[in-house]
Amino acid sequence: MKRIVVLGGGTGGTLVANRLRRLLDGDDAEIVVIDSDDAHVYQPGLLFVPFGLARPASLVRPRHRQLRPGVDFRQAAVDRVDLEENEVCLADGTQVGYDVLVIATGAQLVPEETEGLTGPGWMEKVFTFYTLDGAVALEKALAGFAGGRLAVAVMDMPIKCPVAPLEFCFLADAYFARRGIRKDVELTFVTPLDGAFTKPACNRELSGLLKDKGVGLVTEFNTGEVDGPGGRLISFDGREVPFDLAVVIPLHGGQAYVSRSPGLGDALGFVPADQQTLRSRAKPNVFVIGDAADVPASKAGSVAHFEGDIVATNIAGYLAGKPADARYDGHANCFIESGHRKALLIDFNYDTEPLTGHFPGRVGLPLLRQSRLNHLGKLSFRWLYWHLLLPGRDIPAVHSRMPAAGKHLPPARRAAASPR
């Protein structure tokens, strides 16, 4: 009997455990998921909380209930992983041995790493919607905001769901318009990048949208200090952005236990892995899924979803003594809520940037263009998340490998991107 230990019962950990349970006979492998709490938050919903568009309690379900029968759930904090002994050391002093380990503990917010951010003004004038508590507090602050300068600022990359801060700007624009005070609010998006988004085609579309909605854009701004009482963001190179209310996306890092485990993580606590097989660089029996991985893919639920198929296949292969030859192509897919019940959809991978066209084929949702259909897609995704994605099932017509049909690919790319 082999034992697979999955650290983290979030999106990636849950879906890979469920996929493995279906793939492997109960007599051959025991599957244990370990997490420090039993509250699974539907993170895509956090964006809507500040605008009163989602009830906080409706976003949370017990982690253990999302696991198939035959997957054990253990609530415990992890102290470190001993890669030599193939053991997870728990904070209570007990050890859990494994044959295969899956790191699925995601990213954590480290607001205290930015000078002044958690000082005076934190949760009074300076908020984040990247936590449930933060999103709830921000809802109250926005409701009481009668006008002034609202700065939405990304401290530095990488962050979870890189489009969420832009969506926040679009939804804030619509929210203040609905309240009849849009003209009294100066909205500014502040980013360390040289444009609104990381990918060129998408960057053009999203920069245009910001302009259309009257959202100011400050680029290449690396925030070195947040002065809450003074209402200033100060960059390392001495520039300032004034605010009356700031919504920040704090720095992200891996979990602390990763840094306490010799040989496992990088300088930020993320776990370096082969970007195709998702096997860790540290040991052949350690795999990584989702935000915890140091791979050049977005930190997003869709990435964890598409990786799940690959990780489960490679683990089953490894246990059967076969090479880990399933390969992830970097496929990511996100709806970008643009306000007024419309959304854009982007679909891309390691080699292909977001393009126009339709998804998943020639007939489907419009790509990189605002539409009502995409907004409905984003809303219905919540049901798909709990009922298909977490159970580790495929979403009809949506595959791990990025689809090329329906995309307006440059001719040279068409051959390269088509399924093998």
Binding site: D156, M157, P158, P162, L193, T198, K199, E220, N222, G224, F236, D237, L251, D266, A267, L268, P296, A297, S298
Partner: protein, 105 residues
Amino acid sequence: MPTATYAGTEVAVNDEGFLTDPAQWREEMAPQIAAAEGITELTERHWQVIRFMRHEYEAKGTGPTVRVLGKTSGVSVRELYQLFPKGPAKIAAKTAGIPKPRGCI
């Protein structure tokens, strides 16, 4: 493909002025590359960063970001900005003859 001449040697560079082949780089070229970015003198602290960038690139195939540099190079982010005011990761990478650090996504 554009080229540039540093320390008397012609090297291939990309549109942004980064060397396309890090193997062509030699330490003598660094002062001239830095000068074009407004850095008139390379101090021992600059060299600590430049050598660290080379070392990281050789070990990992990509240069570190500012934040990682601040955690691992022995030079704080604040000082990095004093040394390379126009953007430490980018300018130090250019001076060290390695590609622009891969932006995280």
